[in-house]
């Protein structure tokens, strides 16, 4: 019944590209064009990234595997590594909840001061970690605003594990938010509206519809938080007081051992920390590749 679709003008008459002559198809050997730039890049990266990374492992195993194991077996290094992992875990879990909540509130509600709050929660990225440590000390320390009020009750968050946790939560807060909020902003309102018309309350909607959609990005955010917490130094060194067997994290232990001249001890823990970071990094890489794949 309907008219035939219009043909593109010149579709039939225009000649296609002529077939390549047979001679051109013979493969000629030529240096790939990329050879030059790639060589330069590798040469630059070698002293900048690759060699230092290798150096950690080289130095860690210089005294043989026995020395490496011995260096890791000391009570102090054991404590530092366990404490670091524990703090990183706690930070990741607490921030997963806190960051997701913050992202949900900032994304789903319209209220005065929303823009300002949005900026404030991302501020920790821009503040030097040492400044974070200082400000926490000024607030919670024995002579700080809140710290001095807590003092009479025998509560002292600074120079204690709680202080380290506080510092890590502060420093890593934006990573969780940055991972979850964009997804939440893009998630169309109709999903929640669909759930609402079906009969789901706000909480049920969040639990059954919104949260599952965020699963991937919450996990990514938690991993990022974990990795950052594991390597955090600036704020930790101030708020922890660097007390061995009490608040000393792995990075602090490495620093302390270097200062004391125990290179083997420092390198062994550094190698473990580096390995752990590699694992997390490849996990994240894998995750983001999977997320990019079209569904």
């Amino acid at each position: 019944m309907s008219a035939p679709p219009p043909r593109a003008p010149g579709q039939e008459s225009a000649p296609g590209p002529p077939p390549p002559p047979a001679a051109a198809r013979v493969r000629q050997f030529r240096l790939p064009e990329s050879l030059g730039p790639v060589t330069v890049l590798v040469l630059v990266l070698l002293p900048l990234l690759l060699m230092p990374l290798a150096a950690v492992f080289v130095f860690a195993f210089r005294g043989g595997p026995e020395a490496f194991v011995a260096a890791l077996a000391t009570r102090e290094s054991q404590f530092a590594m366990r404490f670091s992992v524990l703090i990183a875990f706690a930070t990741a879990i607490l921030n997963a909840a806190l960051g997701t909540f913050a992202a949900y509130v900032l994304s789903k509600f319209r209220f005065p001061g929303r823009g300002a709050l949005n900026t404030v929660v991302n501020l920790p990225i821009a503040i030097p970690t040492v400044v974070v440590g200082t400000s926490l000390l000024l607030l919670w320390g024995p002579i700080g605003l809140l710290g001095s009020a807590l003092e009479p009750y025998g509560l002292q968050p600074m120079f204690a594990p709680v202080g380290v946790l506080l510092a890590h939560l502060f420093v890593t807060f934006p990573y969780m938010l940055g991972s979850v909020k964009p997804l939440l902003d893009e998630l169309e309102i109709t999903y929640e509206e669909a759930a609402a018309t079906i009969g789901a309350s706000r909480w049920q909607t969040f639990w059954h519809v919104t949260l599952p959609a965020l699963r991937g990005s919450i996990f990514t955010g938690a991993l990022l938080t974990f990795a950052h917490s594991l390597g955090e130094f600036g704020a930790t060194v101030l708020v922890s007081g660097n007390l061995r067997l009490r608040t000393q994290t792995a990075p602090l232990y490495i620093f302390a051992q270097f200062e004391a001249g125990n290179l083997a001890g420092a390198n062994a823990v550094a190698a473990v920390l580096a390995t752990l970071s590699f694992v997390i990094f490849f996990l994240l890489l894998n995750l983001s590749r999977r997320a990019e794949k079209p569904s």
Binding site: E193, A195, T197, I198, Q204, H208, V209, R215
Partner: protein, 625 residues
């Protein structure tokens, strides 16, 4: 009623999205809301579901008032254009979601799930990941999900809008079949006429927040009541004429058509001619058939079994601007359908009416343009007119931009309350006042424009010029030249409208002016004084010279008594003008002459002069010579 919508109004800022919408959908009915984007149809659906709260009005579902209930408590099934199938769930989990929330047992859930999957044509796909399905299949899942917990009504918002044509047709048939099986009350929103016609038991047409007309598809197409329905659905030409002694007459056309009872004398007649209503032939039609005349074929196009022929007739009939095809100054253009095999000459083709349909006269409505400052007399006069004419009032504020709009809106609303005109719907527009007023009039089909002498935004800055001051600004001049409906310029303070003075200038447009005057004077009970400016004198002004007709005729046939009759024959404008103003009258009606369908009105110098020096309201009536 399964769904009862009563007087629902909704604004987003100054924008009126839903304007007193009332609608009842019977149990088991499939009702389609049809309208262009931005007509408010989706908002209406969301209000029914509880996803949007109305400012005013009531929503009842199955005879229960749900206006204040949350969407969760309404028991509606909603299907979105973007499917919104939950991504992390399987097809089965999606469908069972509503049942799970209601704590239905696992086996019952599975039974219901499989039943629904069969119903929507996806048997055995329960364990599939929902996002792995195609768009059409996802929408089927969404429909099953919305039906799972047996909602009282099913609401669908452009459900097939994101699908390609073939899938859309399939899904449309499936939906109709599902509805025939379940007989669930369904409200569907679409912009697609074909979809509406195929699916609907009844169609509701929406335009700019108003529900214009409701009816079965065939009724709306063949016998629309409103101009909007006539021009929105299908194509056709709408001729404008007037009713006179039980017949409709059209300018430029010989024939008169009988029409039904209850038409007001002198009122506008809108005649709808669809392409299939026209008989096209090389030979003249038998006598007695209403013929438009002969014309030339200017275009033809193949349309399957039929051929669409476009014919231009050298007739200056008055054609409504929403007609399709549009007519230009070259003459009347109409489309006709005829069998593809028929052969026609290119010229001298006879066009005859085989069928025709009169549109209902639109409800009386007034458009008041308000500045948000200055005297409130225009609002007060509009209030009185609305009461007397039983007309609806729309108040229009024209702002420079969106930012100014809210502020101006508040000011005008305050003035409306002060003038007792709160019932008037307030609308806002941005841009040049005259153009916006004319656009609003054309869209609302208002029958009169009411405004103060300085309706332009910048008129305020005009200094005093001559003595007496010339009060008419650019806006009024543009309105006088371009308006197709009477313009009432309210000069001076408010007082009661008891006496009407009708000024005819020669015979030019006298009949149209008197018809308009009669339609105003009769319901308002005004006493009329007829002032005839002598043809001899007026010829000095606009060159008209013609025998004077029986000018009082339309007034008398409408049953309006003429209190007195005066004749003015003065040498110059000043004398003439003061002669007119000496007459006791609260309102002076003067004509401006319209020529072709597109041309601007010819404003006689006397009209400009009267407007400049008058101390009371002046009604300017565009009429044809």
């Amino acid at each position: 009623m399964s769904i009862l919508i009563e007087q629902v109004t909704k604004r987003f800022g100054a924008q009126l999205v839903l304007d007193r919408v009332s609608l009842g959908v019977a149990p088991g009915e499939l009702f389609v809301l049809l309208g262009a984007s931005g007509s408010g149809k989706s908002t209406m659906l969301r209000v029914v579901a509880g996803l949007t709260m109305p400012d005013r009005g009531r929503i009842s579902l199955a005879d229960r008032d749900v206006t204040t209930l949350a969407p969760q408590e309404r028991g509606t099934g909603f299907v979105f254009q973007n499917y919104s199938v939950f991504r992390h769930m399987t097809v089965g989990q999606n469908i069972e979601f509503g049942l799970k929330l209601r704590n239905v047992s696992g086996s019952e859930r599975a039974r219901r799930r499989d039943e629904l999957l069969d119903l929507v044509g996806l048997p055995g796909l329960a364990s599939r990941e929902a996002v792995r399905l195609s768009g059409g299949q996802q929408q089927r899942v969404a429909i099953a999900r919305a039906l799972a917990y047996e909602p009282k009504v099913l609401l669908l918002d452009e459900p097939f809008g994101a699908l390609d044509v073939k899938i859309r047709t399939q899904l449309r048939r499936s939906l109709r079949a599902i509805h025939d099986r379940l007989r669930i009350t369904t409200l569907l929103v679409t912009h697609d006429q074909e979809e509406a016609f195929e699916l609907a038991d009844r169609v509701g047409l929406m335009d700019r927040g108003r529900l214009i007309e409701i009816g079965r598809a065939e009724e709306l197409y063949a016998r629309p009541r409103s101009l909007f329905a006539a021009t929105f659905l299908g194509s056709g030409t709408v001729l404008t004429g007037h009713h006179e002694r039980g017949e409709a007459r059209f300018q430029g056309l010989e024939f008169k058509l009988p029409h039904g009872e209850g038409r007001e004398e002198g009122a506008n007649a809108h005649l709808l001619i669809r392409p299939e209503d026209l008989l096209v032939s090389a030979a003249p039609p038998p006598a007695g058939q209403p013929a438009l005349g002969t014309g030339a074929v200017i275009d033809q196009s193949f349309a399957g079994a039929m051929r669409r022929v476009r014919i231009r007739l050298p007739i200056h009939a008055e054609v409504h601007q929403a007609s399709s095809p549009p007519s230009g100054p070259e003459g009347l253009t109409v489309d006709a359908l005829l069998p593809s095999g028929d052969v026609l000459p290119a010229h001298d083709v006879w066009v005859t009416l085989r069928r025709w349909h009169f549109l209902e006269p639109p409800a009386a409505s007034l458009l008041v343009a308000d500045l948000g400052r200055g005297p409130t007399a225009p609002l007060e006069v509009a209030r009185d007119l609305a009461r007397g004419l039983d007309a609806q009032v729309t108040v229009l504020g024209v702002a420079a931009d969106a930012r100014e709009s809210d502020q101006l809106g508040h000011r005008i609303a305050r003035r409306q309350r002060r003038s007792g005109l709160s019932a008037g719907e307030l609308r806002m527009r941005f841009g040049a006042p005259a153009i916006q007023i004319l656009n609003e009039q054309a869209e609302l089909l208002s029958q009169m424009i009411v405004l103060g002498p300085r309706a332009g935004r910048f008129a305020w800055f005009r200094g005093p010029r001559a003595v007496p001051p010339r009060r008419i600004g650019k806006t009024i001049v543009t309105l006088l030249e371009q308006s197709r409906v009477p313009v009432l310029v309210v000069i001076g303070p408010w007082h009661e409208l008891l006496h009407l003075a009708v000024v005819t200038i020669g015979d030019a447009g006298a009949a149209g002016l008197l018809r308009a005057a009669a339609r105003l004077a009769r319901p308002l009970g005004m006493a009329v004084t007829l002032i005839e400016v002598e043809a001899a004198a007026s010829s000095v002004l606009d060159g008209t010279r013609a025998p004077r007709p029986a000018a009082q005729d339309p007034l008398e046939s409408a049953g309006v008594g003429i209190r007195s009759r005066q004749r003015i024959a003065a040498r110059n404008l000043d004398e003439m003008c003061s002669g007119v103003l000496e007459v006791t009258a609260d309102l002076i009606a003067v004509p401006v002459i319209r020529h072709g369908p597109q041309e601007i009105n010819e404003v006689a110098p006397l009209v400009t002069e009267i407007l400049s020096v008058a101390d009371r309201p002046v009604l300017i009536v565009p009429t044809q010579r």
